[in-house]
Symmetry: D2
Subunit: 291 residues, 4 copies
């Protein structure tokens, strides 16, 4: 994929999901053409099982910023005609991403570093942690760490506090970068925006706690990591990306943890990048990834 | 990708290459819509370096067979307007593929198996070999083997004979499945249709003869295979697919050969499948693969 | 690994498992040296969790065949002293392997072909199937197919018949190459020798029936296959090898099946090769693979 | 491999290379046993081409530090008898590693992180750079950066200065972490210790400058990185590790650079870890890696 397309102020991305009907591609591309947009990348898929239609278009429109309201207005009737769920985002509109972390900081570190290298197009207004340990990691990047301790007794209160932080900082996306607290269904619902989690196993194997210990006990020959959207059911949300690495009898649990860190970093970074570039569409409990 | 879409008699594939200009997607999709076609899969890419436009559409059109000439006729002016190179192929029109082989028969075997399992949508009217060894392999599949020996002295004559076989059998595609003869520039030109070769190394490393011996001497930690279209320059044509497998100090040249056989089979099978499904477009000496 | 070391009539392999104690490596290598053996490859591992010792030695001993009984006799006291489980096998003693298959024949086909290419060092005295379909596949290889139908009512009788076949043909190893019957605990116990199964998922995800449909429903981004020894508990025996392949939203269940076939073939072939070359040692419900 | 075995003060590693002769394994293991050492991991390989013998042993010896001189003295006659090159290293003796870098700092950053996470067992007394840019990267880790600019005119003088730094800081190993200067043959010889380089392509493809641009021009479908020991011939030294990542037509040169960074980080980190744990033996221009 083209890196950093967000630096082009005239570029936008259009995501569409609807029931498949003849003429939908024609209607959308005709409208974009009439508005003076030039499509530079498009990807489309119709799911044969349920005839669900998915499309992602990336286009350039000179003077995008001023013309965006008019474009949206002209698109609305088309969207209505086909019963579309849709999202139109200027590539230059960088998402605001909050990173949640506990003691393990390798995923946080990776995200901060990629951000600094301009490999991720996000703004991180804050990092939230139930431990103060990550302070040292965020400091060189000038990102504030909000330490919100969580105990069984204070969990509801802590979640309310975090939710308020999300509101204040206008957060578009939460990334759980090895955050060892389970967010309540209420939190997920009230936040109402995407939450990406990195689970340190190849889901659905080894759901829940200590997946590397589980993997070692079972004697698997590959360990993995899974980035997925968070839903109320633990480790069961739509999978965005997964990867694995080969292990063997010489690898103790500590080695799986160490090798796994690299897989987690890679998978989470890729999933977050795809989300930030509007490449991930939901299809029930699954994802369509136009990467 | 959807396996065996070719069994749908109403399905067709449209490939387009042209200079990028606003309105091309709109024009094509509008036309397909007006003709009653329903696009089920589309993929498009504009190369930022030279603003070259590439598109692949898969669509269903009831009564395709009868309506194809009309569709082509209506498409011609659009194609002319945008200066398109294009190709419109009914999925049910199975390509005629000749397989060339020498003594090593593992790639031939793999292709024949996959064909039998309906994993490849091709018809193989003949196998050509400069050795008689493969006769036993082709026999259970009912495919005739044409034994055309080649010596330095008889090469021109042999190529003429093979060319005549290609003409007689109306061959659309030649696959060099470890054929150890170098086809002359004249043959390639006179055949005038695609030729896919499997080279047993990760090109452009180890061009030419004995790549596994070369790889062993260099002490590489990965060996690979490359499927590419054949051009007049040896091992330098557009690459369709590549893959590698990890090797180590315990692997002798014979082991590289053995491990490599699996990589060759996999890579060639994938490249041939993509070609047969019209997923590969040429871009100078490179390929755009809409897989 | 060195291919086809079994052609060396003077080569043998020694596998050792015992509690780790100082002097065990010295005792074994000293004894081999005194007997005139030259170690060409050795690999050793001590499990830190339970201090279990595992070793594999490959050595050449001139006149092996005649001297094997003497070697074994001289080794016995050493083995006793250290409480070893051990196995000494001439590389030239090719194992007798029965392949069990149902309707899907791709794994059987792969094994037969690798055997023919001398990539697997086994003798296949018979193939057993609960369907007659594979007859055509085995015919060109001259391997007899025993068709033993299984119904819920006749299962006990069928297993008895199969067990008798194993005895008659002196089978060392059963390979379940997509055999869709579950062997009873009684059968496994009475056979008393290794049984390798290929499960078409990344275990322990998707235990049981229809793993590709399960994988598609969960929306995983990698599908896998697992080769493991069979125990009384379904899909829970020691894992020998696993691998995965990337899939995406364009892949329907039929595509997962097709892609999975290649993974299954590769993983099963590798696991069987390792077993045939005495590279797999058991450690509780896990394996130590000296590959 | 066991992480952080270096924390065990009684653990040592013995590397041996010699011509293969019967009795070598017995002699070594007998001696270790007599000295009271307990072998916890051993790996051995005999190269069939030239009958060269390679061995790595990891063992525990109570009171190692005091008994090391005696052990070495008792080992010397055995080594002489078999004409061994050998190296005996306490695991607790951490190597002193200098990292050389230019403007690209991702590999340096990765090494510093892993060090902090105790994933690499090294001490970094200094970082050398021909640019001042990395100062910000090393600061949080408390590692001094020596800025030694290099121009064609001052190259000899700069190398002398760097050599002096290596001597002062008693450097065991230089790691070229995207250092864009070519070290002279004289420097390499005078330093006389291992130098590891990360080359940003799958060697021997794309030797020399701008490998990602070369890879893009050739249209390869995999890009790679190679970690190798530096010799006087550019990019031609013994390869320690390599890896690749899949790319496609949507990836511009900038994308290859970005994707490649991750491959470079991974491959260099792995190669350096293996070197630090004494897992890499030289065999002519190749390596034996007991990982």
């Amino acid at each position: 994929m083209q890196a950093l397309s967000q630096t082009n102020v005239n570029r936008a991305r259009l995501l569409i999901t609807c029931a498949d009907r003849p003429g939908v591609v024609a209607a959308v591309s005709q409208l974009l053409y009439e508005q003076g947009a030039n499509v530079v990348d498009s990807d489309q898929h119709t799911e044969p099982d349920d005839l669900r239609f998915f499309m992602r278009l990336e286009f350039d429109l000179p003077g995008l910023q001023e013309r965006l309201p008019a474009l949206e207005q002209s698109f609305r009737p088309v969207a209505e005609r086909f019963g579309m769920q849709w999202q139109l985002t200027p590539a230059a509109r960088v998402k605001r991403m909050a990173v949640f972390v506990s003691k393990q900081d390798h995923c946080l570190q990776e995200l901060l570093w990629l951000l600094k290298k301009s490999e991720l197009a996000a703004h991180i207004p804050l990092v939230v942690s139930n431990h103060p340990d990550a302070r040292e990691v965020v400091a060189p990047f000038g990102v504030p760490l909000h330490h919100v301790p969580v105990t069984p007794d204070t969990k509801a209160q802590a979640e309310a506090e975090v939710l308020e932080l999300m509101r204040t900082h206008q957060v578009d996306l939460i990334v759980l970068a090895r955050y060892m607290q389970i967010l309540s269904a209420g939190f997920i619902e009230r936040f109402g925006r995407p939450i990406i989690n990195i689970h340190h196993s190849f889901l659905p194997a080894f759901v829940g706690a200590n997946p590397y210990a589980q993997a070692h006990a079972r004697g698997v020959k590959l360990i993995g990591a899974t980035a997925h959207y968070v839903t109320a059911e633990l480790d069961a949300g739509p999978i965005i990306d997964q990867d694995v690495h080969r292990v063997g009898h010489r690898d103790a649990v500590a080695d799986l943890v160490r090798i796994g860190r690299r897989v987690e970093r890679t998978v989470l970074a890729r999933a977050v990048a795809w989300h930030l570039e509007d490449r991930v569409l939901l299809h029930g409990n699954k994802t369509v990834v136009f990467a």
